[in-house]
Amino acid sequence: MREMSAPVHASIEVAFSDRPPQVVSIDELPFLIGRGKESGNHLAFDDMRISRKCAAISAGSGGLLIEDRGQLNGIFVNGEPTKEKTLAHGDRIRLGIDDRCQLIFRLQPEAHSKEGAETKLRSLLGTWGGDSADELKGLRLLLEATQLLHSQLPLESVLATMLDHAIVITHADRGMLLEPDGSGVLQVKVARGKGAESLPPEKMNPSRSVLGRAIELESAVINEDLNLADLNVQTAHSVMLQLLRSAVVIPLYGAPHGQVDEWEEAPRRHLLGAVYLDSKRTATFSALDRQILDALGSQAASILDNARLVERERERQRLEQELSIAREIQQALVPQGLQDYPHMAVTGIHKPCHEVGGDYFDVFPLPDGRTAILIADVAGKGLGAALLTTMLQGALSGMTLGVDPVKVFNHLNTFLCERAAVGRYATMFFGLLDAAGTLEFVRASHPPPLLLRRGEVSELYSGGSYPVGLIEQATFKAARIQLEPEDMLLLYSDGVTEALDRDQNMFGVERLKVVLGGQQDLALGSLQAGILGAVERFVEGASQSDDITLLVVRYRRPVGDADALGGIPTPEQPV
């Protein structure tokens, strides 16, 4: 094996039990270790236990080796007295007989940069000799390197390096990696020329006939001088374009994932793609060993398979990230620390599910002294739903300027229906409670809030209403109801009533009514906690599939206009 030409990323960890830990990178060879800097030591100790000339690390045939340069009582590698030894990752080097004086040799997986990773790959490629045994070793190294580097290297460059490698082994002019597109036709994804040159994939024109044959045979195909007699006129055309190249095609098959039922017929192997190598010279590939092609094929398939697995994992992470953005948006919209008003007390909670639903609630004062109470549920989940909730909030905040809620609902409906591509709609309940207890409300297909009056529970309304943003012709209208002092309203999203237990039974509105019934005197926070607890007991640990939102309002008593308008919010009086 040749000596490593590229710098090896190695370091020494100073692990003296009586000194602060320190990591020194080996940037220069030989790398000298000893007491004081005067002797030219790269790792210099101010420690009498260490000799001036202690040890040196230099390049050897099998990597880096350490030699004793005169340490008192010698040096020990992994406990063995050592004069000279090739170092492996993790080797512990003791200087002298003091157990506390330990160094640890570290080989870095690679610097955390694309360049560094590529350099590592190139240096591995550079270690091959001329015979096939070395080539196979090189392949194995490459595969190991690829696995190490997955997380840092763009996948396309892993694949490009794999091709460069195949070109070197086979002495081809060009190499291509093909993968099936949506309809199963192999398309060139990456193309490389000699000397790691990047070629435009769309300009490549691999011979479809040779590709077809390799896939039919499920095995590597070597096509010397592309015997024209074998091919029909149509396929011969593409061969002509290739200027009579000779070619090698290696189909790549994935390892079966999951278990295969032995009684079933063996499934057709999963085609991941193909490596296509060609050369303008004829007979380039005639001497190629079948064993090498098979090894190349299985290694390339493994790399491609892993690369795509990593890609799917990254996609999953991207989705997770999207969800966390959605969660942040939603949390930012929900009012923090609801305040009470002279004429009403209020509390609310929003429990997002994992995928993040589109629930949203708000309570805000209007200039005319009334208090707006709002709950909305956007259809669907994830970032799309969260974004629409932000839009709803923006539109509804217009009401603080005194805009008629019915007009806002109608406008929102038209706006969303005209932009059908948004593809989302919402159910909403919007109420306005004045100091005298009059509740004016507009509903848009939202489940009716429950009214608790003198211990009895009823639904605030019955019958249907259109959601906002689904039906263009929909119109909305306001209704009124007179509340009595101590009346309570429970606004909820369908995540509460549609909560499922392990047997897929729904919590349902009747259970909700039972929990609420007779709880007239309970403080709002306790009532809310009681409802959540009842839902949790019902689902018995089944995972929450939709957002759960509750908003509890108690109308206290009529208040003079002045109180309601300029009144400072007061905490709820204990009852």
């Binding site: 259809a379 669907g380 593809g423 709609y425 297909s445 249907g464 689904l470 263009e472 369908d494």
Partner: protein
């Protein structure tokens, strides 16, 4: 969630849905429903095997119904279980797309 179709007399296509019409269910049928809405004039949507109708599922029914209507066709809903019918009624969808529990009546409404 599965979707299957059968042709009935009078140029009516009966669309049988089977399963939960939640987010996953609606994603599974959306494309097929749109193709049907774009190619058929009279659609009888058989909901008798739909056990749950969520908000995205509602959308999967309403948007194709409107597309059919724009092209001069009709859609009718047949046989929803009580939970599903409740959702349809709560959102006033019954006023846009007629709901039937009698197959002959549904066919008559489409003819």
């Amino acid at each position: 969630m599965t979707l299957s179709t059968e042709s009935m007399d009078g140029g009516i296509t009966r669309v049988l849905l089977d399963g939960r019409l939640d987010i996953q269910g609606s994603a599974a049928i959306d494309l097929k429903m749109n193709v049907l809405a774009g190619s058929q004039r009279f659609l009888l949507l058989d909901l008798s095997k739909v056990s749950f109708l969520g908000s995205m599922g509602l959308r999967s029914i309403v948007l194709p119904a409107q597309a059919v209507k724009r092209r001069g066709g009709k859609m009718a809903l047949f046989g929803p279980v009580p939970m599903v019918e409740e959702v349809l009624k709560a959102s006033n969808i019954g006023e846009i797309i007629p709901i039937f529990h009698d197959l002959d009546a549904a066919v008559a409404a489409l003819s």
